[in-house]
Amino acid sequence: MEKSAALQVDHVSFAYENERVLKNVGFSLRHGEFMALIGPNGSGKTTLLKVILGMLSPQEGGVWLDGNPVLAYPPKERARRMAYVSQQPFLAFPLTVEELVSLGRYPYAPRFGRGAGEAKAIEDALRLTDSFSLRGRKFTTLSGGERQKVLISRALAQTLHLLLFDEPTVHLDLYFQLQILETLKRLCTEEGATVVAVLHDPNQVSLFADKVLLLRSGEATAFGSVEEVMNEGRMRSAFGVEVSAIRDAKSEAIYFIPRRPQS
C-alpha cells in the first residue's frame, strides 16, 4: 500500500447480481490532486464512486482511504474524511441555504442542539464557493448554478479532505461550468483537497484535471496525466467519436474538437 496516498483503489471488481460492472480497476491519488473520471455512459463511473464511498463493497480488491480500508471506518468517521455531491437532487421543501449547508455538519453534530463551531464551519464552506451572500435565501429559489455551489458548500462543510462529484457541471451554463471547476481546482491547490469528478467534456478535463481515469465497460483503460490518457485514438475507441486534439500555442492546453459522425 502506498502510505502517502490519499485514495488508493486496488484491483477492484464489482458485480450487481450476475452483471460485472467493474473489472480489476486500480489507481492511486495523492493529496491535492484533481482526478477526472471519464468514460461512456454505463461504463461504471457512478458504481466506482459508490465503491469508493463504501456504499457498495467490491467482490474483489479494496479501497484505501489515508492508508486504511474504507470499510473499516465507522460511517461518521468515514464521512469526516470524504464527502459526495450527487447530481442535483429534487428538493420539494423550502430549506434555506444555511439550513442545507448545515446538513453537512451531520457527522460532527450532537443528537440535540448545535455542534461546536457549526456556524463558523457553515460560513467558511459558503465563502469557499463565494455563496455566503445567498445564506438566507430558500434553496428552491436559486438558479441552477447557484444551487450547485450551495450543494458543493454542503460537502465542504462536511470535509475538505476527499471530495467526490458526479457530473458537477451538468445542466449549467458555460459561466457556471467554469466557475464550479475553478472552485474545485482551487480547493485542491489551496486547501489540499483531493477531488474525484465524473466529467463528460474532454475540454473541461484538459483544462482542470491533474489525472484522468478512462473507464470503458468497467475496465480502467488508462490512468495518468491528460497527455498520457487522452489522445485521438483512445477517444475514438472509448467513445466511438472522431475528435481532433489541438494544442493551443498560447496556453499549451490541449483542446478536443469533435467531428460529425460519418453516416
Binding site: P75, S86, P89, F93, L103, Y106, P107, R154
Partner: protein, 325 residues
C-alpha cells in the same frame, strides 16, 4: 429564531383557547368557573377525554403526514395515499366484526388490530415498491396507491358481509369523537407523545435524507434504520388515530404543509410545530362539529376540509415558488 419563539407563543395561546372553548361547548350548558357535581362529571368524563382525544389524534395525524412527506421527499405523501390508513381500517374492521374489542395487552383490541393492518399495508407497500433492494420514491407511492385501493375494497366487502355490525362499522368509519371516553382517549394520550419523542430523536437524520439516500449515506446516516424507524412510527400513529377516531382526512396532508410554509422545512422545528398545530386544529374542528347543528353533530372530517382547505389554498396561492414545484 424570533419567528419560532412567537410561533410557539401563538400556537400555545390558540391551544389554550381552543381547549377552553371545547370544554365549554356541548349539549348541556355548564359554567367552568362554578362547577356543580353534575357539571364536574360531564367535564371530567365526557368533555375532557373528548378534547384530549381530538388533540392527540390531530397531533398524531399531522405528525405522521409530516414524517411520510419528509421520508418520501414528496409533498403528496400521507397515510391515505400510501395505503397505510386503508390497512389500519381493514384491521379495525376485522377486529369489530370478530368481536375482538376486549383489551389485548396494553392496546384495546381495535388499536392492536389496526396496527397489525397498517404494518401489513406498510410491508406490502415496501415489498411492491422496492426493486433489487433499493426504493424509488415514485415506485413506493404508486405501490401505496395500489395497496390502499385493494385494502379499501376488502373493507367494503367486510362491510357488506357484516350484518349486525354494519351500523357500528359505518359509525366507526365516519370518524369523530362523539363516543370518546377515557378508555379510548388514553391510548392516544400516552402513545402519540411517545411517538413524537422518537420522531424528534432522529429529526436531524430526516433532514439529511431530504437530499436523497446517497447523500445521506455518504454523510454517515444509517439510512435503512432511519427509514424503517420513521415508517414504523408513522404507521403506528396512523393506526392509533384510526382506532380512536375512524377515518379523518386532510389533517395529515395539509397541516404539515401549512406549518412548512410558515416555519420552514427543518424537521427539528417542523415536527413539534406540526404536532401542536395538528392537535389544536382538530380540537377546534371537533368543537365546531358539535356546535354547528347541535344537538346533532357534523362528521369532524367534513369540518376539517371545510375550514382547512380554503386556508391552505390561500397559502398555496401566496406561496412564492419556495416549494420548488
Amino acid at each position: 429564531m424570533r419567528r419560532i419563539f412567537w410561533g410557539w407563543l401563538i400556537l400555545f395561546f390558540f391551544l389554550l383557547v381552543s381547549l377552553f372553548v371545547a370544554l365549554g361547548t356541548g349539549p348541556v350548558k355548564i359554567s367552568i368557573l362554578a362547577l356543580s357535581p353534575r357539571d364536574q362529571t360531564i367535564l371530567l368524563h365526557l368533555r375532557l377525554p373528548r378534547a384530549l382525544s381530538s388533540f392527540f389524534v390531530g397531533a398524531g395525524l399531522a405528525l405522521s403526514g409530516a414524517i411520510f412527506q419528509g421520508l418520501f421527499r414528496n409533498p403528496l405523501a400521507d397515510s391515505y395515499l400510501l395505503g397505510i390508513s386503508s390497512g389500519a381500517s381493514l384491521g379495525a374492521a376485522a377486529a369489530l366484526i370478530l368481536g375482538f374489542t376486549s383489551p389485548v395487552a396494553m392496546f384495546t383490541g381495535v388499536s392492536f388490530f389496526s396496527f397489525l393492518g397498517s404494518l401489513l399495508a406498510l410491508s406490502l407497500v415496501f415489498y411492491f415498491g422496492s426493486r433489487e433492494g433499493s426504493f424509488s420514491v415514485f415506485r413506493l407511492l404508486l405501490s401505496g396507491l395500489g395497496v390502499g385501493l385493494f385494502f379499501s375494497s376488502l373493507v367494503a366487502i367486510l362491510m357488506i358481509m357484516a350484518e349486525e355490525e354494519l351500523k357500528a362499522l359505518i359509525f366507526f368509519f365516519m370518524g369523530g369523537f362523539s363516543s370518546s371516553t377515557w378508555d379510548s382517549a388514553w391510548v392516544a394520550v400516552t402513545l402519540v407523545p411517545a411517538s413524537l419523542a422518537i420522531a424528534l430523536c432522529y429529526s436531524r437524520e430526516l433532514n439529511v435524507l431530504l437530499l436523497g439516500e446517497e447523500t445521506a449515506q455518504s454523510s454517515g446516516v444509517n439510512t435503512r434504520f432511519i427509514q424503517v424507524t420513521y415508517a414504523l412510527v408513522a404507521a403506528f400513529l396512523t393506526s392509533i388515530s384510526v382506532s380512536v377516531a375512524g377515518l379523518i382526512g386532510f389533517v395529515g396532508l395539509i397541516v404539515p404543509h401549512v406549518v412548512r410554509m410558515i416555519f420552514g422545512a427543518d424537521h427539528r422545528i417542523l415536527l413539534p410545530f406540526t404536532f401542536l398545530a395538528g392537535g389544536t386544529f382538530l380540537i377546534l374542528c371537533d368543537t365546531i362539529a358539535k356546535a354547528v347543528l347541535a344537538p346533532s353533530e357534523l362528521p369532524v372530517g367534513v369540518v376539517t376540509s371545510l375550514f382547512g382547505a380554503p386556508f391552505f389554498l390561500y397559502l398555496l396561492r401566496r406561496e412564492r415558488g419556495e416549494y420548488g414545484l
